[in-house]
Amino acid sequence: MDPTDVADPTYYHRVVDCQWACPAHTNVPEYIRLIAQGRYDDAYLLNRESNVFPAILGRTCDRPCEPACRRTRVDGEAVAICRLKRVAADLRGDVADRLPRAPAEKNGKRIACVGAGPASLTVANDLLPLGYAVTIFEQHETAGGLMRTNIPAFRLPASVLDEETQVIIDMGVDIRYGTRVTSLRALLAEGYDAVFVGSGAPRGKELELPGRRDETGETHIHIGIDWLESIAFGHTTSIGERVLIIGVGNTAMDCCRSSRRLGGKDIKVMARRPRGFFKASPWELEDAEEEGVEILVNHSPKRFVVENGKLTGMEFEILEWDEPAAHSRVVDTVVLPCDDVILAIGQENAFPWIERDLGLRFGEWDLPIVDEKTMESTLPGVFFGGDSAFGPKNIIWAVAHAHEAAISIHNHCQGVPVDQRPPFGMNLISQKMGISQWSYANDFNPAGRQQMDHVELSRRFSALNLEVELGFSAEQTAREVQRCLNCDIQTVFSGPLCIECDACIDVCPASCLTITANGSEGELASRLPAPRTNPEQGLYVSAPLPQTGRVMVKDENVCVHCGLCAERCPTAAWDMERFELKIPYAKDATVAWSR
């Protein structure tokens, strides 16, 4: 193999599993260390730089980082990354004077954003400090998008949402509440320098089965996201005792738990397939079941039972899942009586307000054609991000898209090609303090993952907006931070110093290191002391070593970043160095070309 190119930030970035998995590349291990040191403000601000909404995300993030966490490979349980983010947010002091600010002098460029969801707000957050004038059009009277209208207050208190959205708006957004954009042509005619579409995926999917249109009075068949929205705005305050939720994604979880709080007693979530196929996050399923919601598998909706113009139940086909054939077959049917049905089977994009003759092309599923890197549509100057771009995702993806879109908008407005992206950079900082002294807690802590405490069930449903999760206690936090393996503290190798004494190899508790003759990747991998079970992870190969010409090989997959290799190396050929990924934002793009 050729010597590994560690000058490319991608190599070390990959080693930091959580940061690699995070769409916004949040520097997780560093913020966890800051929490460990009680530096909550710093931890919060470090989070905010990449994910913009730490307090919101500390409660609601989809957390793609957690399944990726190295700790799962060590003891099966990820570090509670998301919960710790909430700790930083909850315990922060007043950070107002450390937040980005818009300069008094503007740069003369005007940007229009459609929708006040996390995507548009992030664009505003990135562009206002550069002197842009940002106008956001929002059809509702409040900001936050689905975070406001759909994520229930018992998961995300309004005060938390208000605080983090308002901070951006107060930077100087010209926000036009109650203003629905009905024509892109008209908006473009207003002469904005760029338009950002952050309008989300606003339409809940229908289920056109027999009986769907047979009710005569008020309907008891609800579209999940619309129903949640009407709860958020106080229009819906009750539901029948027997509720069927169709679908088993995260929307279904919010619908069943909301039903529980509005008077539902017998609540069933109806799933077509067995458990392994559920779309809902495991923790949401757990919380719903804890609240007494029943989940029925292998039930496929057949028709709505409407008697005398009134919904009385729903008929289902009972399926049997044939594992080898990966296919269900019908074995029976059943009618389940109910008072209400909530449809939570997905969301769709809809752009009735975008004229199709503007040069903005649409592709499959009526989604606009958007460049995945630049977020630009086929109409120069019009950018997309969040759920509007590629269909429903989540908040952290909306933020990640918006950071990229902000760079593109900045390029576009400065006459720089949008595909000219400012590069990622990195810093590597030695953590050695002296003999046996490292500036991080390098001991491996075998503690298990801390469990989140919840408001007791007897009190939980007393108010619709009572936050269920209590957050970590000081003790839980202290324990959890020590579970992080500090994957960003990299093992950095200087081959010319190595005398091939084997000390590092002998001491490594995870058998990641080998000194051996070079070979092709597959062949070399077959000669490692621990089998290479995860080829996704890097295999570091040094240049030929001075004494024998063999190479140092490291399988990054199993390294626990304990630093013992560096500790026992007589020549400091190994060093533990903190990797700091320099993520480019719109503000860095300016620097890149003003030089």
Binding site: E500, C501, A530, T548
Partner: protein
């Protein structure tokens, strides 16, 4: 904050031996030697060897004298018995222990100072008695623990860290062993574990006194230019004489043995040597000595299993001792009383 204990990482799947133990079960305390010391590699190789041979930890007795090398028994097989003796007396203690309990595996670890200066008299007699043990000399050409004075194994003109040459001729532990009649004589290099591991395993399988001289660089005091015991010098001058395979279970030794020399061991293991030099037979002491004498070039560090003799009687056979460990012999037999003593004394008159 810092920690230098080697943690046990739960999910790293570790290989298990016949006893169900992992290699980590054969480790000891964290080494306190200088980072990069060759002795640590020898420790790691001993751990690997006893793991692979699946020796129960409590059936091992580890002994040493004084020196950095002699500190190492603390760093392997924490479940073993051990004795850290005074300087140069390790093998005297080992002889006594072995006399009392022949069932254990004895691993003695010594240094060139411990063995070739203060302890040489004891070493000579243990070889003569063919005490059934593995005797490792971690040879770095200096007294490491006392800060790098020349030892009795330092080569002529090898220099100290400050550049002064040694003028006294060295004692070669291999030649010493061969001339005194050691029944297993080998040399390895801490920087070449692939070769050292089978040597140590074979030494543990051997019945009788197995002497292995391991070149084990002292990074602190003898790893400089001018030293003939440095990593670099040894790497550039090592000449491996043999290519042998140890079959732990001799019956399953496979492959043809054309032109190979095969040695069956008491333990049931089998040693097979191939690609031997034409004028050399590792089961013939005279041939081994002659071969080594001919190759005594100052720029060659010969390594290999030079000589093995499974036929010589060991301490117990020579002294016709009881087969049981003394602890297992009933007290009445062990100490039959005054009348039995009188009987015995009568037989002398």
């Amino acid at each position: 904050m810092a920690s230098i204990t080697k943690p046990l990482i739960p999910l790293v799947e570790l290989e298990r031996n016949e006893l169900g133990l992992t290699v980590r079960d054969y480790e000891g305390a964290m080494s306190t030697l200088c980072a990069g010391c060759g002795h640590d590699s020898v420790t790691a190789t001993i751990v690997r060897a006893v793991f692979e041979l699946a020796i129960p930890p409590h059936m091992i007795s580890k002994l040493s004298g004084i020196g950095c090398s002699s500190k190492t028994p603390a760093y392997f097989v924490r479940g073993a018995h051990g004795f850290n003796s005074v300087h140069g007396r390790m093998v005297a203690i080992a002889t006594g222990a072995n006399a009392a309990n022949r069932k254990l595996h004895y691993i003695g670890v010594s240094g060139d100072g411990d063995s070739l200066s203060i302890g040489i008299g004891h070493l000579a007699h243990a070889i003569r008695r063919n005490v059934n043990m593995l005797y490792l000399i971690e040879n770095n050409g200096v007294y490491g623990l006392t800060k790098g004075q020349f030892s009795a194994s330092t080569d002529v003109n090898s220099t100290s860290k400050r550049g002064e040459p040694n003028l006294l001729p060295p004692i070669d532990p291999v030649m010493l062993g061969l001339s005194l009649g050691a029944t297993f004589v080998a040399r390895g290099f801490s920087g070449n574990k692939e070769h050292l591991l089978p040597l140590i395993k074979a030494g543990l399988e051997h019945t009788g006194f197995a002497l292995i001289d391991v070149i084990s660089p002292c990074v602190q005091f003898n790893d400089h230019e001018g030293s003939t015991k440095s990593y670099l010098f040894t790497r550039h001058h090592e000449v491996q004489v043999d290519d042998f395979t140890l079959f732990q279970d001799g019956i399953h030794a496979n492959g043809s043995d054309d032109g190979a020399v095969t040695v069956s061991m008491h333990s049931g293991a089998l040693l097979r040597f191939r690609s031997l030099p034409a004028d050399y037979d590792p089961t013939d002491r005279a041939s081994a000595i002659a071969y080594l004498e001919r190759h005594k070039a100052p720029d060659e560090v010969l390594t290999g299993l030079f000589y093995v003799n499974e036929a010589a009687p060991d301490l117990h056979e020579l002294n016709k001792t009881v087969t049981e460990p003394l602890v297992a012999v009933p007290f009445e037999r062990l100490c039959p009383g005054a009348s039995a003593l009188e009987e015995l004394q009568k037989s002398f008159v």
